[in-house]
Amino acid sequence: MGFKENILSIIIFLPLLGVLLGAFIPKENKSAIKWFTLIVSLVEFIVSLFLVIHFDSSSTGMQFTEKYAWIPVYHIQYQLGIDGLSLLLILLTTFLTPLVLLGSWTYIKKREKEYYLWFLVLETGMIGVFASLDLILFYVFWEAMLIPMYIIIGVWGGPRRIYAAVKFFIYTMFGSLLMLVAIIYLYFAYGSQTGTYTFDLLKLYNLSLPMSTQIWLFAAFALSFAIKVPIFPFHTWLPDAHVEAPTGGSVILAGVLLKMGTYGYMRLAMPLFPIAANAFLPYLAVLAIIGIIYGALVAMMQPDIKKLVAYSSVSHLGFVILGLMALNIESVDGAVLQMINHGLSTGALFMLVGMLYERRHTRELSEFGGIAKTMPVFATIFMVVTLSSIGLPGLNGFVGEFLILLGSFFANPVYAVLAGTGVILGAVYMLRTYQKVFWGKITNKANEDLHDLSAREIIVMIPILIMIVWIGVYPKPFLNIIHNASESYIQYVKPQTAQQGQADYQPSMAPQMPERIK
């Protein structure tokens, strides 16, 4: 029971321990609570760096595995393990949480204690989702993480928070219940095939079901994750949830929670049901492309900045899904990287919008204009994040989008041609927003004496900016971590593709796994 053997459990439950201890801090002592939770989350981040140090990017299997019987009667295990995909998402979670806590310092003005503690609970849930290898454990974390988010939106949200929180909750529950049914079906299907019952994901990968069954199971999983991602047309909860959620909630929602959907596709839905996945592949890709264009077009017309960023998420996550559906190493690498990128840049955008909201208590575009003059630092940071979001080369967004588009071009040029328009539209709506908020003359009296970012706010933004530049300039370490995860994903899903009719997914000019040039 050493530190290294149980490192994942430690990372998962450390925030929860923090919650237990933090519960003893009196409610009135607000700064103590803030500092305490911040320190807990920072310690958590440092501990999670341990994973990076000991992560072996050349190994193909799961690492840091833990396995204990949990409910032996039903063969439910407490089984953890991560690969490159989970590692990056866990790091993203532990990286964003302290920033979110620090960013909420002055934003939250009621029930501070509960707010900060709920965030730690949320962190436990999120990391648990990314680390569990047992389907029931996964499901438990998946549902558990809904509760803190529901409460964060519902208690600290905007005027229509109840509507948004309920919408968020019901949408997600609807999907996950279908998933639960599918999980249980899988359990019995595996049992009837092999005689042993298990929820172990790694064993279930080897289960081969007939097409007709796979279709239904895949549909259940895919719908659940599609809502979470969200894939068009299941996206309408997102703008509402984002607009009403407090800044911290939005950041985590966009930064991490949406990734659970894409993670689900990559970890569960696609590899578990390869035949069905291949049958659904073109449809999902088309939905992703519709999402890219549609999200961008709708974002273009939003009068509310936060709603705009929310719709841009729909567009960006369309890219991720497209990357996953293109099924070649470049696109999948790009998709995973784009998950991280989106977490960083959209998270940062939400934080920045939150800072603006804190000053002006409005998010209407028409209320702003000419702010670059009064808030130069803010304007600069916003510009960098905007550029990252529209995929300017040299910043993180480009690497992901480039790989995704390149890979999807290999898979089917039409995908890339259509999805590529999203790149243009992305520039249109982001620059339009930037211009409306920051450029022009100050027309609104209220904007004349806005104070620029405080030191604390700058500290919140700097780590994100560093990551944005780092991934843009030197993405290799990240790609190395991702590499084996995406390769095994392709291996699980691909073989059936070959049988199912190459022509559909492999146009004549596409590569047959080309050699590397020395």
Binding site: I329, E330, L387, L406, P413, I424, A510, P511, I517
Partner: protein, 645 residues
């Protein structure tokens, strides 16, 4: 040859950007100017050093590379951060750093007293970095990084005075129009990559691609060529994506000179020259390039005839001259295109900076109708402006003559008679509009405002010295590329140094020989056109003192208005693309589809549930005896079912 100092060409402007951008405000304007200028100067010095190194190498093997690190690796795709210098690169580097440095110096004077002085120089340095990256990169993806980087700087610098709405709009327009082009560029890149990948060589490196290009079918190459050219039309302001460049004049004048005349807009030409190995195998694509170039040259020149804003005239002139360059590369005369690129960088930068000097002298006035008679008040500016005007008109002996003539000769020689004719007519128009500008600005009676007239002054040394240097370059710059025809007259063998220097870089198209007499006649013809243009301008604006604007407006109102309004292209784009898209997004996608259909479905199901509950709750009478009864009926029913079945 691997040479590690190449990377320092990039690093210094980047450092200048970081220092000026992060702490520039606290350093004071003087320090900011020094930092920015010395960063560019060091790069320039390094380039000169490498140029000398390059010259010392054998002509066939002039290639210097510098691999910094592996940037992206995914599967079989590896993209290195690798820099490369060959003769083509070094020409671009010299132009970019040389002209760039002069413009940096000029900016010290021009931007003097601006509130955002440090921001300006930070952007300029960032631009230098991106442009150098574009030029130096050894693979097409890295080139795209620079490509987008210069687009970003262009956006930031056009919108430099962001408080002006027109500037902000122009910046956005530039970026988005460029993005449309980049979309084509990216698709071309993808197609190229997948074509190579299907042959088992997934590469985007210029050298490797050049070595294996023959594996790929010409049809694909043609598509790739056209797609890449779409990118070039965006960046280099060709039809139909030229619309952003005239608006880009909202930026500070040094920016117009550096980015929108000398360097960035020529990136498209450079790209096609760099990809010559591909275009040579895709003659149809080259044909498209040449046709678009020729049409743009004529088209922009006609608009330039009637513009009244001094910088806009120059902007349309730039578009027109870029058209020439595309004609040059389009007919396969890559070195001629690059040669014109270089001379154009000299004289167009000079024209812009001169215009900046005029504007500076007139406290910001840009309308030529409110100028006139400035010749004696700002003599230095007048002199250099005249030199540049003569150069661009193609008056023999100046740089523009040599480069333009070699392009036209190549066009004619390769059988593109129509394109040659377009260029030929454009030569006349060019001479006319540029001398119209000269005459309206510097000659005739003064039409200045009272207020402006009092303050007319020559620019300080820091501005005029770069002007003079550029003027010298505009005059003599052509002599490195003297056509062999003229060289023979004075017994100078290999007079076309430039072409010979670049020759190893370019794949050659099938040679078209043409008789000496034809070439001579062509040359005489274009000289005649240039002189004719100057003469017309003199006749119209000085001799007869016609008010051609009014005249034209009366006699040919339709044509005049069409030209003045730039063929209504902006309006057409607005009406057929932008408005419908916005309308559809807002009114259909968002308000109907999103809110009504999707949310309607979701909320509708919630409402159905709620409606059903309000009806069903009537069952809940609150009367416990009814509950008892119902409960018992339920129990009994279950019991009855089990017993009676």
């Amino acid at each position: 040859m691997e040479l590690n100092i190449v990377r320092y060409i990039l690093i210094f402007p980047l450092l200048g950007f970081l220092v000026n951008g992060l702490v520039g405000k606290r350093l004071g304007n003087k320090a900011v100017g020094w930092i920015a200028n010395s960063a560019v100067f060091i790069s320039f010095a390094l380039v000169v050093y490498i140029f000398i190194q390059l010259l010392s190498m054998a002509p066939g093997s002039r290639l210097i590379t510098d691999t910094v690190y592996t940037w992206i690796n995914s599967g079989s795709l590896t993209i290195d951060f690798k820099l490369m210098i060959d003769p083509l690169t070094i020409v671009m580097l010299l132009v970019v750093t040389g002209v760039g440095f002069l413009i940096h110096i000029y900016s010290i004077g021009y931007m003097h007293g601006d509130r955002s002085y440090s921001r300006f120089f930070a952007y300029l340095n960032l631009f230098m970095f991106s442009m150098l990256l574009l030029v130096l990169s050894s693979n097409i993806v890295l080139m795209f990084v620079g490509w987008e980087g210069v687009g970003l700087c262009s956006y930031l610098l056009i919108g430099f005075w962001y408080e002006k709405d027109s500037a902000a709009n122009a910046g956005k327009k530039a970026f988005i129009t460029n993005r449309v082009g980049d979309y084509g560029f990216l698709l071309g890149l993808f197609l190229l990559a997948s074509a190579f990948a299907s042959k088992g060589i997934l590469t985007l490196d210029f050298t490797t691609m050049a070595a294996h290009i023959s594996l790929i079918s010409p049809q694909i190459l043609t598509i790739v060529g056209i797609l890449l050219f779409v990118g070039a039309t965006g960046k280099s302001a060709q039809l139909p994506l030229y619309v952003w460049l005239p608006d880009a004049m909202e930026g500070p004048t040094p920016v117009s000179a550096l980015i929108h005349a000398a360097t960035m807009v020529t990136a498209g030409v450079y790209m096609i020259a760099r990809m010559n190995f591909l275009y040579v195998l895709a003659p149809e694509a080259l044909e498209v390039v040449a046709i678009v170039g020729g049409l743009t040259a004529l088209y922009a020149a006609t608009i330039g005839l009637v513009q009244n804003d001094i910088k806009r005239v120059l902007a349309y002139s730039t578009i027109s001259q870029l058209g020439y360059m595309f004609v040059g590369v389009g007919v396969g005369a890559f070195s001629a295109g690059i040669f014109h690129l270089m001379t154009h960088a000299f004289f167009k930068a000079l024209l812009f900076l001169g215009a900046g000097s005029v504007i500076h002298a007139l406290s910001g006035e840009q309308d030529m109708r409110k100028m006139g008679g400035l010749k004696n008040k700002i003599p230095v500016t007048h002199a250099v402006f005249l030199a540049a005007a003569l150069a661009i008109s193609g008056i023999p002996g100046l740089s523009g003559f040599f480069s333009k003539d070699s392009i036209l000769a190549a066009a004619y020689a390769s059988g593109h008679t129509v394109i040659w004719l377009l260029g030929f007519i454009t030569a006349l128009l060019t001479a006319f509009y540029i001398f119209r500008l000269i005459y309206m600005t510097f000659y005739g009676e003064s039409r200045l405002d009272k207020h402006a007239a009092e303050h007319v002054h020559e620019s300080p040394k820091v501005m005029t010295v770069p002007l003079i240097i550029l003027a010298v370059l505009s005059v003599i710059g052509g002599y490195i590329g003297v056509p062999q025809l003229l060289g023979n007259l004075v017994g100078w063998h290999n007079s076309d140094i430039f072409v010979n220097f670049l020759a190893p870089v370019f794949r050659t198209m099938p040679k078209h020989e043409m008789p000496v007499s034809t070439e001579s006649w062509l040359m005489i013809g274009s000289i005649a056109m240039a002189i004719l243009g100057v003469f017309f301008a003199w006749y119209v604006y000085i001799k007869s003192k016609m008010r051609p604007a009014e005249h034209a407006a009366e006699s040919l109102p339709g044509v005049y208005r069409l030209l003045l309004n730039k063929y209504y292209v902006d309006e057409v784009y607005n009406a057929i693309i932008i408005k419908p898209l916005l309308w559809m997004s807002e009114n259909f996608l968002w308000k109907i589809f999103d809110v009504r259909v999707v949310d309607g479905t979701v909320n509708g199901s919630a409402q159905v549930t709620q409606w059903a509950s309000t009806k069903l709750r009537k069952i809940q009478t609150g009367d416990f005896q009814v509950y008892v009864m119902l409960f018992l009926i339920g129990v009994i029913s279950v019991l009855a079912y089990f017993v009676l079945r």
